[in-house]
């Protein structure tokens, strides 16, 4: 059996490293790229290379950015007294697209999950605490921390952990409300139980 020419086989192998791309899709993509005019393939390759070269994590909030600190952290019109805590950078952009939020962000880079070996030290949790302390020292104390981690089990655990540790700070801690979408799924009903657990247990 004649195998693919080496460069093609290599491209197919590399493409398969992407999420949701299996062998068949990788083959399709590879053959598609072969047919593209040269400048276009160069642009794709360039974009992929640049993503890593030109992007880094914001030293303040932890989001993916091409300037450090990021545009949001350096924007004087943002409300510096409110920090919204999200799991990943794409959650930040999801909230940004709503155009309704004017505060700052803090990107954790994941959620607590012992099964995945993720503890507080692996997440941007200590940097969040340090950030709140620094803000007070700098005379711009944080008024409110909004917990916007997902309503998955691990997202909840992370929100609970932050709630617990933020008690020693002089900040209001809030949790994003959980909307039941139109034609709501029963799936979310047990989350209501959890919301109660989260709220009710804060006073303890």
């Amino acid at each position: 059996m004649q195998e693919y020419p080496k460069p093609l086989a290599k491209l197919i192998t590399e493409l398969q490293k992407l999420p949701t791309i299996g062998q068949k899709t990788a083959q399709r993509l590879a053959f598609f790229m072969l047919k593209l005019p040269d400048p276009e393939t160069a642009q794709i390759a360039e974009a992929i290379a640049q993503v890593k070269q030109r992007l880094s994590y914001c030293d303040i909030c932890g989001t993916i950015t091409d300037t450090n600190p990021c545009y949001i952290c350096t924007n004087p019109r943002r409300d510096r007294q409110v920090i919204c805590v999200v799991e990943e950078s794409d959650d930040l952009w999801a909230i940004e697209r709503t155009n309704g939020y004017k505060g700052l962000y803090h990107v954790l880079g994941g959620v607590l999950s012992p099964l995945d070996g993720t503890g507080p030290d692996e997440l941007g949790i200590n940097t969040l605490f340090q950030r709140i302390r620094d803000a007070t020292v700098n005379g711009e104390p944080v008024r409110e921390v909004i917990l916007a981690t997902n309503w998955t089990t691990e997202g909840q655990a992370t929100a609970l952990y932050l709630t617990q540790h933020l008690e020693t700070f002089e900040v209001a801690v809030t949790r994003i409300a959980y909307g039941i979408p139109v034609g709501g799924d029963l799936e979310y009903i047990d989350e209501v139980t959890l919301a109660k657990a989260l709220e009710g247990r804060r006073k303890a």
Binding site: L160, E187, L194, L198
Partner: protein, 450 residues
């Protein structure tokens, strides 16, 4: 819902078999290992997405085949038709489709139609360990309450996370404050589970008791008690009762009827579970696993024999004393030693079985529990579940079989009964559809008279 038709491909010993059921009562006749039980197993699988007897899913696939396929077509009086398909490849997850649409969650699959299965394996309800009884309760409640199953799945995930964290803390001295977080989630989901179990168990034990009394002609009766190390029993009176030699059996019966757990409020259960979890933390850390919670609960089956009180009493007392006391006293100091006790000793019928002997009695109890399950599903859903009876004539004596068939005659439930011979069952059934199974081939025999 009535099962109108089923297709089995490469399932157990079936190669490719399709059979239609035109009547509510179906009598399936065949020798051993011909495929009778596998047919019931397939029906049950379409209902619950799990087998009642396979320990590994791979066992369900016909030898040397890549995977199995099941399809059931169900309908009701209004001509609504639903098709349920289940496929399993040797290396892969189950795929479940309803009306051709892939179902991602088992919680959305379970409960589309309900089934109650009584088989020789049902005996594990009485003879088996706590896990068997928990499985029975969990599957029963999941069939009638999809939120319960979702909470159960979340609870299991939190439990795995917590157990992993316990191990990490033990080996690397990780931050214990993380544990509080998982505790809160465990308590939130666990409390929802416990509340629902209490609610259902309360009804179940009454139905089981009634059925058992009728099955034994009033000569014996059973008392079921929910046992939980995560919820404090306000008055340990009931639990002490069987151990107090001067207590007579009537009081014991009264005590178990009241059910102290079941009067607890949500907040009380939460507080209790919280306290139990806190008390157990040291031992949990030591063992690297969570020792209290609904995943360790059980229910105790006690047999009260009206005619032989004292002779059997002392026997059962000796047998039950140790585990029972440990079970009830969930004091802080005791929880550690209590947790070291293998929980399988608690609530099993082992001691009772030694005292009361007969396998027949155990089967009667298992049947009473299954009939209670049937009644409970009818009451809660307002519909008769499909009844699957595997090899009952070999399991039960004539009198009990007759009672069972009488109960079923008063229902409009669709019934599937397997037996090695048509007689004597066929005479007691209302115009059954008789099928024969031989070497995984199913044939319609005839329209028999009742």
């Amino acid at each position: 819902m009535l099962l109108n038709n089923i297709v089995l491909r490469n399932f157990r010993n079936y190669v490719d078999c399709e059979v239609s059921f035109s009547k509510p009562v179906n009598l399936i006749i065949g020798g051993n290992a011909q495929g009778k039980t596998s047919l019931l197993e397939a029906i049950y699988f379409l209902c619950t997405a799990e087998s009642h007897r396979a320990t590994r899913d791979g066992e369900l696939i016909r030898h040397n085949e890549a995977g199995f396929y099941l399809k059931g077509t169900l309908g009701n009086n209004n001509d609504d038709v639903m098709s349920l398909e289940a496929t399993k490849r040797a290396r892969g997850q189950f795929k479940l489709k309803k009306n051709g649409v892939l179902q991602v969650k088992r919680s959305e699959w379970i409960g589309q139609f309900n089934a109650v299965l009584f088989s020789p394996e049902s005996l594990v309800l009485v003879k088996g360990g706590p896990a068997e009884r928990r499985r029975f309760l969990d599957l029963l409640i999941s069939q009638i309450d999809s939120i319960y199953l979702k909470n159960l799945q979340k609870y299991r995930l939190v439990l795995r996370q917590r157990n992993e964290l316990l191990k990490q803390i033990r080996t690397t001295l990780a931050d214990t404050s993380q544990l509080d977080v998982w505790d809160k989630l465990l308590i939130a989901h666990g409390t929802a589970i416990i509340i629902k179990r209490f609610e259902i168990f309360h009804q179940l034990k009454a139905y089981a008791r009634q059925n058992h009394q009728q099955l034994t002609g009033g000569k014996e009766s059973i008392a079921l008690t929910y046992c939980s190390a995560s919820v404090r029993n306000n008055t340990s009176m009931h639990h002490n009762a069987p151990n107090t030699s001067d207590e007579d059996t009537e009081n014991l019966a009264d005590g178990s009827e009241i059910g102290f757990f079941e009067t607890k409020t949500e907040t009380e259960i939460e507080t209790d579970f919280d306290a139990a979890l806190n008390a157990s933390r040291g031992a949990d850390l030591q063992r690297g696993t969570t020792l209290v919670g609904p995943h360790r609960d059980d229910f105790l089956i006690e047999l009260e024999n009206a005619s032989a009180t004292h002779s059997t009493d002392s026997e059962s007392e000796n047998g039950l004393e140790v585990p029972d006391t440990k079970e009830v006293e969930i004091d802080t100091e005791q929880s550690e030693s209590q947790n070291l006790l293998p929980r399988s000793e608690i609530g099993t019928f082992r001691e009772g079985a030694r005292a009361y002997g007969s396998q027949g009695q155990q089967r009667t109890i298992a049947l009473a529990l299954k009939l209670a399950e049937l009644e409970l599903i009818r009451t809660v859903t307002g519909q008769d579940p499909i009844v699957l009876l595997d090899d009952v004539t070999s399991e039960l004596d004539y009198k009990r079989t007759e009672y069972l068939l009488n109960v079923l005659q008063n229902l409009s439930a669709q019934t599937f009964i397997t037996a090695t011979h048509a007689e004597p069952l066929v005479r007691h059934l209302n115009q059954p559809n008789v099928l024969t199974v031989e070497n995984a081939q199913i044939n319609q025999v005839s329209e028999t008279n009742s």
